[in-house]
C-alpha cells in the first residue's frame, strides 16, 4: 500500500518550476521541428496550387 506524499510548499514550488520548464522545452521543440521541416523542404513548399 502506498500513501500519497504530502508536498511541502518548497517541494510544490520546485515541481511547478520543473513543469513550466518542461512545457517551455516542448513548445520550443514544436517550433524547432516546424522551422526545420520548412527548411528541409525548401521554399517550394509554399508554391502549390490553391
Amino acid at each position: 500500500m502506498t500513501l500519497p506524499t504530502q508536498l511541502t510548499p518548497e517541494e510544490a514550488r520546485r515541481r511547478r518550476k520543473r513543469s513550466v520548464a518542461i512545457a517551455l522545452v516542448l513548445a520550443a521543440l514544436v517550433l524547432i521541428f516546424y522551422v526545420l521541416t520548412i527548411a528541409k523542404l525548401g521554399p517550394q513548399v509554399l508554391n502549390r496550387p490553391l
Binding site: 502506498t2 500513501l3 517541494e11 520546485r14 518550476k17 520548464a21 528541409k40
Partner: protein, 315 residues
C-alpha cells in the same frame, strides 16, 4: 480486494519523495561550460569547411551537438557521483549534494542522448549523428566507466571525445570529414594532456583520495612535467598546421605562433619549478593559459572564415 484488517498485508510504505531538484540543477548536469566550448569548436568546424548549409539546419545541428555533449556530461556525473563527492571541485554538483537522485540523472542523460542523435540525423545527416553517438558513448562509457579509473592515460585517450565536435561540425556541413576537421581534432587531442595534467599536478592529493590514477599519482610529478613539455612541443607546431594547409591565414598564424611559444615557455616553467607554491603557481598558469590559447586559436579561425578576414600566409 485487500482487507484493511488483514495482518498479512505488507506494511504501508511512503511514496518516494518528489525530486528536490531545481531546474538549474538539471541544467548543471549538462556541464554548461563544456557545452559552450563544444558549440564554439563545432561552429569553427562548420566555418572552415567552405561549404554552404541552411542556417536553420546549422543552428539546430549546433543545438543538438550541444545537447548530446551535455547528455554525455550528465551520464558522466551519474557514474562519477562517488568520486565527485570526495573532491572539493566537484562535491557541490547536484548528485553528490543530494539535490538530484542518480536515477533521475541517468534517465535525463539517456533521454537527451537518444533524442540529440536522432534529431541531428534527421536535421543534418547520419554521419554527423553517428559521430555524435560515438562521442557520447566514448565519453560516458569508454572514458568515464573504464579509462578514468583504470589507467594514467585516461585523459589522453579520453581527450578524443572532447576533440570530436569540430569533425561533427564539418560532417554537418559537408556530409564528410576532411583534413580541416581532422587537424582541429588533433589540435584539441594533443592540447588535452598538458591542459589536464597541469591541473592534476596541483590537485594530485584530491585525485589520489578519490582513487583516480592521474599521471602525477602514477608516474610521479617529474615524469608528468616531462610529458607536459613533450606534448606541448608537439602542440605548438601542430597549431601552425592550418596555415600550412591553407585554411589558417595571417591572423591565425600570428596567434598560433605567439600562443604556441607562450605555451612552450609556460610548460618549461612547470618543468623547472618543482617545489612549493611556485610549482603550483606555474602549473596553474599553464592550465589557465592553455584555455586561452585554444580559445584564441579557434576564435582566429572563426574571425578569418566568418568575418572575411582571411589573408593567406603562403602564396
Amino acid at each position: 480486494m485487500t482487507s484493511l484488517t488483514n495482518t498479512a498485508s505488507p506494511a504501508p510504505t511512503f511514496a518516494p519523495a518528489v525530486s528536490p531538484g531545481e531546474v538549474a540543477d538539471f541544467f548543471a548536469l549538462l556541464k554548461p561550460r563544456v557545452m559552450a566550448l563544444v558549440i564554439f569548436t563545432a561552429l569553427v568546424g562548420m566555418t572552415v569547411s567552405h561549404s554552404h548549409v541552411n542556417p536553420v539546419i546549422a543552428t539546430v545541428s549546433l543545438l543538438m551537438i550541444a545537447v548530446g555533449a551535455g547528455a554525455s556530461g550528465c551520464l558522466n556525473m551519474w557514474w562519477d557521483a562517488d568520486v565527485d563527492a570526495v573532491m572539493t571541485r566537484t562535491r557541490t554538483r547536484p548528485i553528490p549534494a543530494g539535490r538530484i537522485q542518480p536515477g533521475e540523472a541517468l534517465a535525463f542523460g539517456l533521454t537527451l542522448s537518444v533524442f540529440s542523435v536522432l534529431v541531428l540525423g534527421l536535421a543534418a545527416n547520419w554521419l554527423a549523428a553517428g559521430l555524435l553517438a560515438f562521442t557520447i558513448v566514448f565519453y560516458a562509457v569508454i572514458y568515464s566507466m573504464w579509462l578514468k579509473r583504470a589507467t594514467a592515460q585516461n585523459i589522453v585517450i579520453g581527450g578524443a571525445a572532447g576533440a570530436l565536435p569540430p569533425m561533427i561540425g564539418q560532417a554537418v556541413v559537408t556530409g564528410s570529414v576532411g583534413i580541416e576537421g581532422t587537424i582541429l581534432f588533433l589540435i584539441i587531442f594533443i592540447w588535452t594532456p598538458p591542459h589536464f595534467w597541469a591541473l592534476a599536478l596541483v590537485k594530485a592529493g584530491e585525485y589520489a583520495r578519490a582513487g583516480i590514477p592521474m599521471m602525477p599519482n602514477v608516474a610521479g610529478p617529474d615524469s608528468t612535467r616531462r610529458q607536459i613539455v613533450a606534448y606541448t612541443a608537439l602542440l605548438a607546431p601542430l597549431g601552425l598546421a592550418p596555415v600550412v594547409l591553407g585554411f589558417g591565414g595571417m591572423i591565425y598564424g600570428g596567434v598560433a605562433l605567439v600562443g604556441g611559444l607562450a605555451m612552450l615557455a609556460l610548460s618549461v616553467e612547470v618543468y623547472r619549478r618543482r617545489d612549493g607554491e611556485t610549482a603550483n603557481k606555474a602549473a596553474m598558469s599553464l592550465f589557465a593559459f592553455s584555455i586561452l590559447y585554444l580559445f584564441l586559436l579557434f576564435s582566429a579561425l572563426l574571425a578569418e572564415q566568418g568575418l572575411g578576414l582571411f589573408r593567406p600566409v603562403l602564396g
